[in-house]
C-alpha cells in the first residue's frame, strides 16, 4: 500500500539536464517542486575526481555511469515478424542514470538544428515532390521553426557557455563559422576550442575540395566562463576522458557545473534519489494527472500528488512512462493508429579512417569530447537531394574524442584481428591515425516503433519497452553517398604520400544492438501541430493530459544530422517559458486541438 505524501506543485520525473532546467524555472516561479531521480546523487567533488575517473575499465567498458540493465532494460528486434529479446548488456546505445543524467557523461557537442529540419516534410515536398518519400517514410514537421527556437537556443548556449564560432549573426555571414546555420542573435559565449592537429589536416583537405569547415561547437569550454546563473566553469584540459566519463575539472557543462547547485540551494526544491517512478496517476476522467507513484531505495511505495508532472527522463524511458501510465494511444504499425511509440529514430553513423605514415603525429589521447572541425555542406537539405533519391544528411568531421588504451586500436584493413601482427600494427598506427565521423540523420518510417514488451518485465514487475528498428533503405542510401564524400576528404588528407591509406565503410543493415554507434535515440513521444500524428503539442504538453509535459529527444519527429542536446535544451526552455508565462496562469491545453 503506497504511503500518500503531501501534494506539491510539480514533480519532476528524472533529475538530469531537463529536470534540472525545469526545476530551476518552476521554483523560480514560486512553485514547490519535488525531483525524483532513480539513480544516485553525485557531484564533481568527490565523485568525478582523478585518478578514479580515468578508469577506462570501470567507466567505459563496465559502463559505470549507465543504466543498470539487470534492473531495467529494453527488448529489441529488427522487425515485427521477430520475437524481441531483452538487451542484457547495453552496447549500441548507453542510457545514463543518476543525478545530472546523460549530461554528466556526454561529449558536449552542442548544435542547433536547421529550419529545414524543423520543416522537413514541407520542405522535402516543396523541393522534390512526394516521390522521394517512397512508401514508408513518415517524416513530419515539428510545429516549430528555427526562429521560434532561436531565443531558447541562445539562452541554453549561454547557460552552458558553449565554445564556438558563429556563422550567421542577424543575417550577416561570419568568416570561419558555419555558413549554413540559421541566423543567431549573437556569437557563442566563448571562443572555439583549440584545433587538434588531425582536425587541422581535415580542415585543409575540406577547404581544398571547396567545402566550408568550422570548429565544432563544444560545451567543454575553451576558457573560464561565468553563466547567467552565476556558476563559474573552468577550461577543458583535453584529458581524453570525456564521453562515458564525468569531468573532474568543472570544464564540461553538466547540471552539476551549470545549474544544479542553485536548484539544490532553493528551499522550494526537494531532491529524492533512488526513487523509481512506476507510473503517472490520472484522475477518473483520465484528463488530468494527480501525481506519481514511486518506489524508494528501501523498497517502500509512495504516492506523490502533484498538480504538474514533468517527464524528463532518457528518451526511451519517456516513451515507456507514457505507455505504462496509459497516457495517449499506443501506436500500431499495422493500422498506423495511435501515436505513442511512433517515429522512433536513431542516428546513421559511419566513418573513414586515415592511416598516416609515422611522420604525422595525431596524438589522439590529447583530445576533448567536442573538439574538432566539421563541415555542414551535407547536413539537412544543404545540398540537392533531387538526383540522389534520399532525404536527410550528415555532418562530416574530424572530431575524435580520445585515444584511450582499451578502446582505440586503429589498424588498417587486412590486419589479423589478434596476435603479434595485430599488436605490431596497433603500435605502428596508434599515434598516426585520424578518424572521420559521418554523423547522419535518421528518417522516421512506418515500421520502426516502440511499444511495451508482452513478455519481459523489469525489477519492479513492469513491462519493458520493446524496440523494433532497422535502418531504413533511405538512410542506407544516404550513408553510402555521404561516406563516399568523407572518403574523398580522407584521400585529400593523405595526398599522394606513400605509406598512407584510407579505410571507410558506410552504415549497412541489419541494425545490431551489440556494437556501439550512438546514444541518440529519438522519437516515440513526438511533437507536432496536429494531434492525430503527435503525442505532445509544440510546447511539449500532452495532447491528452494537459498537466503532463514530456521533454527530451523523444519529442523529435525524426532525427536530424546533428547531435541532439542543443535542441533538447532549447525545447526545454521553450516549454518552461510556456508553462511559467501561460499555463500556470490558466491551466489547460496551450494549443486547442
Amino acid at each position: 500500500m503506497a504511503t500518500r505524501l503531501p501534494e506539491v506543485d510539480a514533480v519532476l520525473l528524472g533529475v538530469g539536464l531537463v529536470g534540472t532546467m525545469l526545476g530551476r524555472e518552476l521554483t523560480r516561479a514560486g512553485l514547490k517542486v519535488v525531483g525524483l531521480e532513480r539513480g544516485d546523487p553525485r557531484s564533481t567533488v568527490p565523485d568525478f575526481q582523478s585518478p578514479q575517473m580515468h578508469d577506462e575499465l570501470r567507466y567505459s567498458i563496465h559502463q559505470g555511469l549507465m543504466q543498470d540493465s539487470a534492473r531495467e532494460t529494453v527488448t529489441f528486434r529488427n522487425r515485427d515478424s521477430e520475437t524481441a529479446l531483452p538487451v542484457r548488456r547495453f552496447a549500441s546505445f548507453l542510457p545514463g542514470t543518476g543525478v545530472g543524467g546523460a549530461a554528466v557523461h556526454w561529449n558536449g557537442q552542442t548544435y542547433r538544428f536547421q529550419d529545414s529540419d524543423f520543416r522537413m516534410r514541407s520542405r522535402v515536398l516543396e523541393r522534390y515532390g512526394a516521390k522521394i518519400m517512397g512508401e514508408d517514410l513518415r517524416v513530419q514537421d515539428w510545429g516549430v521553426t528555427a526562429a521560434d527556437l532561436e531565443p531558447h537556443y541562445d539562452r541554453f548556449e549561454y547557460l552552458l557557455g558553449t565554445s564556438g564560432r558563429a556563422g550567421n549573426i542577424g543575417g550577416a555571414k561570419q568568416p570561419g563559422g558555419n555558413p549554413f546555420e540559421d541566423s543567431r542573435s549573437r556569437d557563442y559565449p566563448t571562443p572555439p576550442m583549440k584545433e587538434p592537429y588531425g582536425s587541422a589536416l581535415f580542415r585543409r583537405a575540406a577547404e581544398s575540395l571547396g567545402y566550408h569547415p568550422f570548429p565544432q561547437p563544444s560545451s567543454n569550454l575553451s576558457q573560464p566562463y561565468t553563466n547567467p546563473e552565476g556558476m563559474e566553469l573552468k577550461t577543458c584540459m583535453f584529458c581524453g576522458f570525456c564521453e562515458r566519463f564525468a569531468c573532474e575539472h568543472y570544464a564540461k557543462s553538466s547540471p552539476q557545473t551549470i545549474l544544479l547547485p542553485k536548484l539544490l540551494g532553493d528551499k522550494r526544491f526537494t531532491l529524492r534519489t533512488r526513487c523509481q517512478v512506476l507510473r503517472i496517476n490520472l484522475d477518473s476522467g483520465r484528463k488530468q494527472a494527480t501525481g506519481v507513484t514511486y518506489v524508494d531505495g528501501a523498497g517502500r511505495e509512495f504516492e506523490q500528488p502533484a498538480r504538474l508532472v514533468i517527464v524528463g527522463m532518457f528518451a526511451l524511458n519517456n516513451v515507456r512512462m507514457l505507455l505504462l501510465s496509459g497516457i495517449g494511444i499506443a501506436y500500431d504499425p499495422q493500422t498506423e493508429k495511435g501515436v505513442v511509440g511512433r517515429n522512433y529514430a536513431y542516428q546513421t553513423v559511419s566513418g573513414a579512417q586515415v592511416f598516416f605514415d609515422e611522420s604525422v603525429n595525431i596524438n589522439p589521447y590529447m583530445r576533448s569530447g567536442a573538439s574538432g572541425t566539421v563541415i555542414a555542406d551535407f547536413v539537412s537539405d544543404n545540398f540537392d537531394h533531387g538526383p540522389l533519391g534520399f532525404v536527410g544528411g550528415a555532418f562530416i568531421g574530424e572530431a575524435m574524442s580520445h585515444g584511450r588504451p582499451i578502446e582505440f586500436h586503429p589498424v588498417p584493413p587486412g590486419t589479423p584481428p589478434w596476435g603479434l601482427e595485430w599488436k605490431r600494427a596497433v603500435a605502428r598506427h596508434y599515434n598516426h591515425t585520424s578518424s572521420l565521423t559521418v554523423h547522419g540523420s535518421s528518417a522516421a518510417v512506418r515500421q520502426n516503433h516502440l511499444d511495451l514488451d508482452p513478455t519481459y518485465k523489469d525489477a519492479w514487475g513492469l513491462p519493458l519497452l520493446r524496440m523494433t528498428f532497422d535502418f531504413p533503405d533511405n538512410d542506407v542510401r544516404m550513408s553510402a553517398y555521404l561516406t563516399q564524400k568523407a572518403q574523398d576528404i580522407a584521400r585529400a588528407m593523405i595526398g599522394g604520400t606513400a605509406g598512407r591509406q584510407v579505410a571507410a565503410a558506410p552504415r549497412k543493415g541489419p541494425y545490431t544492438i551489440t556494437q556501439y554507434q550512438t546514444t541518440h535515440n529519438t522519437g516515440g513521444t513526438i511533437m507536432g501541430a496536429d494531434r492525430s500524428s503527435s503525442v505532445v503539442n509544440p510546447y511539449l504538453q500532452s495532447w491528452d493530459v494537459h498537466n503532463v509535459f514530456v521533454i527530451g529527444a523523444s519529442n523529435f519527429p525524426q532525427n536530424a544530422s546533428y547531435n541532439p542536446t542543443g535542441t533538447v535544451g532549447a525545447l526545454a526552455y521553450r516549454a518552461a517559458e510556456a508553462i511559467v508565462q501561460r499555463y500556470l496562469k490558466s491551466p489547460g491545453p496551450l494549443v486547442q486541438a
Binding site: S50, T83, E232, K234, P410, P417, G419, I513
Partner: protein, 251 residues
Amino acid sequence: MAILAQTAASAAEQSSVSLPPAGITNCAACHGNAGQGDPAHGYPRLAGQPREYLLRQLAAFAEGRRKNAIMEPVARALKPDQLEDALRFAATPPSKPPGPAAKRDPTAERLATVGDDKRRIQACNNCHGPDGVGEGATPYLAGQISQYLASALASWKIGARNTDPSGQMPAIAKALSDADIQALARYYAALPAPGTAVGNVKPAPVPKGNAPAPGNSARPSAAPKKPVGVEQGQPTEGSGVNSQGGQARRP
C-alpha cells in the same frame, strides 16, 4: 645575489655541464648543486622537473608573464646553448629524499586528492599526478620546497604568474585561503620527490612471455573482413560475427 665560483665549480663537477659565462647567474647557486632547491631561501627544487615545464617557465620569465626579480633577467640573458645547459642541469636525477615526512594535514590532503565542491576546487592531483609527481608541462609538487610552493600559489593568486593559458591555476589559487596555501605547501613538501621514494625501484623488465614462435600460431589463414566506421573504427555492419539482433525464435 652573489655568484660563488666555488659553488659553480662544484655544480659543474656534479652535473657535468659547462658553466654559463660570467655575468649570468648560475643555476646551482640558488637551486643547489644537485638542483635540490634551497629551503632557507625558498628557491625551488629543479632536479627531475619535466623539461617541457622548465622550458615554458624560462620563456615566461623572459617574456615577463611570470614575475620574479631574479629569474627574469637570467632568463632574458640565456642563449640557446646555455638554455640547453640549464635544462641538462635540471635533468640531473635527484640524489636524496627530502626531510622526514611531516604529519599529513587532513585539509590539505583532501584538497590535494579530492578537492572542495563548495568552492569548486578540483583535486590538485588531477593534473599534478598521483601524489603530485608531475608530468610534461605540469610540474611535480612532491618534495618541492615548501616556501616556494606557498609563494608560487601566492603569485598565481595575485596574477604575478600568468603562464597557464587555461586559466585553471589562477582560478584555483584565488579560491584557496592563505591557510590552505600554507597547508598545501607543507603537505606536498613532505611527500617524496619523484625518483627519491623509498626503494627507488626501476620497473621490472617485461618478461618475454610464452608468445608462440612465428609461423606456429593458430592465426586464421585469411584476415576476416573488418569494416571500419564509427567510434573511431568500430564496424558499421550488423551482419558480422558480433551481430545478435532480434531473433525469430522463442526464448
